[in-house]
């Protein structure tokens, strides 16, 4: 049930896996700052960042410039674009442009929260498993495999069918299903670190387990951690948007990109804008986060220095 050999190298389509500490081998006080700095020198990272910032601006400040309220009826259903409604009206006659400007924030905060939850949980499990090297490791990894055995969307739907379409539940499930994927990568990276002398030294002077795990191991797995943060953000956006596209996220009459696609997909032939705008925004956002993540991963491996 394992795919240790592929992991984030597979997710990112890179030729090598990300080493535990920074790629340069040079000792740095804050290796992650160095990685981010060299990532930012790459064109792909800059393009990705520009896209992400653009979508963020739309989602955060969009409501301020929206011409109508997202629930106001402004034109006959599925009207084409006109001077009154820039991108026409949706299947119920509401302004597509205004609903688009209002609808981005929910996807963003939910995916950010789910990513944070998944990475914090996954890093903790991965480090504890790597450090314990006994039955605790076995139990944690077995638990991991069980969660990994469900395709993420199916586990989310199982939870929604039992407990109902609640936003906290979606954040919780998306985060929970990320955790074992993060844990596997972090455990792999930390297993090398555990064998190093400074960990033995810390044990010899009687440091507490928690201090060794979070004070000695954690700072040495920052590179894979940064990459995981980016990867899980991309997948969180896709999953959260997908769940609300299926109709199990925000409920009508809320303005939400996923829900907009769901509500208007049957009238796509007469009014494509009400589907196209949110689809474009979600697609651009995931491509943007993936470009940034790819830049970070390349910087962490040291590809930028080899002149690739």
């Amino acid at each position: 049930m394992s795919q240790q050999t592929v992991d984030s190298a597979l997710d990112l389509a890179l030729d090598g896996s990300v080493p535990p500490a920074g790629g340069s081998g040079r000792l740095q006080r804050r290796p992650w700052l160095g990685i981010l700095a060299s990532a930012l020198r790459m064109t792909r990272t800059r393009i990705g960042l520009a896209i992400v910032v653009l979508i963020l601006l739309v989602a955060v400040f969009g409501p301020l410039i929206a011409p109508y309220s997202p629930t106001e009826f402004v034109a006959p259903p599925n009207s084409p674009p006109s001077s009154d409604a820039l991108f026409g009206a949706d299947a119920l006659g509401r302004d597509v442009w205004s609903r688009f400007l209002y609808g981005g924030l929910s996807v963003l905060w939910m995916s950010a929260a789910a990513t944070l939850l998944g990475v914090v949980l996954g890093v903790t499990v991965g480090l504890v498993a790597a450090y314990s090297r006994n039955w605790v490791d076995d139990v944690l990894m077995r638990g991991n495999d069980v969660v990994l055995a469900f395709p993420q969307i199916i586990l989310a739907l199982l939870a929604v069918s039992a407990l109902g379409a609640k936003l906290w539940l979606i954040v919780l499930i998306v985060g929970l299903t990320h955790a074992p994927r993060v844990a596997r990568v972090i455990r792999g990276a930390a297993q090398e670190v555990v064998e190093r002398d400074f960990v033995k030294a810390a044990e010899a002077v009687g440091e507490k387990r928690s201090r060794i795990i979070f004070g000695e191991l954690l700072p040495n797995v920052t590179s894979p951690l940064l990459v995981e943060l980016g990867l899980r953000m991309t997948y969180s956006i896709a999953l959260v948007a997908a769940i609300s596209f299926l109709g199990f996220g925000l409920q009508p009459p809320a303005a939400d990109w996923g829900l907009m696609i769901n509500e208007n997909r049957l009238s796509i032939t007469v009014q494509p804008w009400s589907v196209l705008l949110p689809v474009l925004a979600i697609g651009l956002l995931t491509v943007g986060t993936n470009l940034v993540t790819d830049g970070i991963a390349r910087a962490a491996i040291g590809l930028d220095r080899k002149g690739h």
């Binding site: 049930m1 389509a13 055995a149 469900f150 199916i154 199982l158 896709a238 997908a242 589907v275």
Partner: protein, 317 residues
């Protein structure tokens, strides 16, 4: 090797058992009385009593679980709470449709991505390689429903009208009777998995092309075509096969969204409908089928790795 294979099989069975506990627990997680929660507004005392009886809710939890898992193992998955039909009857045609969709997608995606990987490796760092890498980075990031809707806009509605936007299949038909409706859903799945398989193939092909035996073969004057297809590809294909199995497993979840996008009558679409209606017997059946296939394909990927890796094949006999 036998010990390793038996170990993997045992772990697979253990994982399946733990999965069955989680899927069963979903029924216990329903707020309040499970039968009332499932029936919702239609909860007349008669129907609640009938459903309680069907789900064995008056027995102890252990006996409920045993009766449910016994049914699953013998292929009787209970009765749909929404339509009163047996779940197996409700799903049988849909299982075939979904399997056909995944099969078509796999038959196109696997050879295509192997070919693309080889091509990118042979043209390493040249325009074809760069375009391929960029495209795969973009496609890998896009959610499958975004790809699907993009294809609908492009090939079914706004630009060209080559294929139907909605995959209608009459109840007495199967997906293979109406191949038109399979094209776009299958293409969506293909576009979602090709980036992953082709990049792994590219990476491992580059490694093999730099190896000594390929240099040796070239020095012996064997034609380049034979070097590539007889010596390099068979060795480079191993990691790609493993990733292909994992991507097939991923499709068990991916079809849910793709089928919903195209209203394709498969088990994924049935799952979404069942979640809407809180039809727990259907939800549980599809979930356990999906997870079962996923575990099985992961197991196949693991076993393939053991079988084709000489170091693992010969050690630990």
């Amino acid at each position: 090797m036998r010990k390793m294979i038996l170990q993997r099989l045992a772990l697979g069975v253990l994982t399946l058992w733990l999965i069955s506990l989680i899927v069963f627990a979903a029924l216990l997680a329903l707020p309040g009385d499970a039968a009332t929660a499932i029936l919702g507004r239609e909860a007349t005392p008669d129907r609640v009593a009938a459903l309680r009886d069907q789900l064995n809710l008056d027995d102890s939890i252990v006996s409920q679980y045993l009766q449910w898992i016994g049914g699953v193992l013998s292929g009787s998955f209970g009765t749909s709470a929404a339509t009163q039909e047996p779940v197996s009857e409700l799903l049988s045609a849909r299982v075939g449709n979904s399997a056909f969709l995944v099969l078509v997608a796999a038959l196109v995606a696997i050879p295509l991505s192997i070919g693309l990987g080889v091509l990118m490796a042979m043209r390493r760092d040249r325009p074809v390689d760069h375009i391929g890498s960029t495209l795969s980075l973009v496609l890998a990031a896009l959610p499958e429903f975004v790809i699907g809707i993009g294809l609908i806009l492009l090939f079914a509605t706004s630009v060209f009208q080559w294929f139907p936007a909605v995959s209608l299949i009459a109840p007495d038909q199967r997906a293979w009777d109406v191949p038109d409706v399979v094209v776009l859903p299958a293409l969506t799945l293909v576009l979602a998995v090709v980036p992953y398989i082709s990049r792994i193939m590219r990476g491992s092909m580059i490694e093999v092309l730099e190896s000594e035996y390929v240099t040796m073969a070239r020095l012996k004057g064997i034609s380049e075509r034979e070097v590539i297809w007889r010596h390099a590809v068979p060795n480079a294909i191993v990691p790609a096969i493993q990733v292909a199995a994992l991507q097939l497993a991923w499709m068990a979840g991916g079809v849910v969204l793709v089928e919903f996008v195209f209203s394709y009558p498969g088990i994924g679409q049935a799952l979404v409908g069942a979640v809407e209606n809180r039809d727990m017997p259907v939800v549980q059946t599809v979930t356990i089928l999906g997870a079962g296939i996923y575990v099985l394909l992961n197991l196949v990927a693991d076993l393939l790795t053991i079988l084709v890796t000489p170091k693992l094949r010969t050690s630990a006999r």
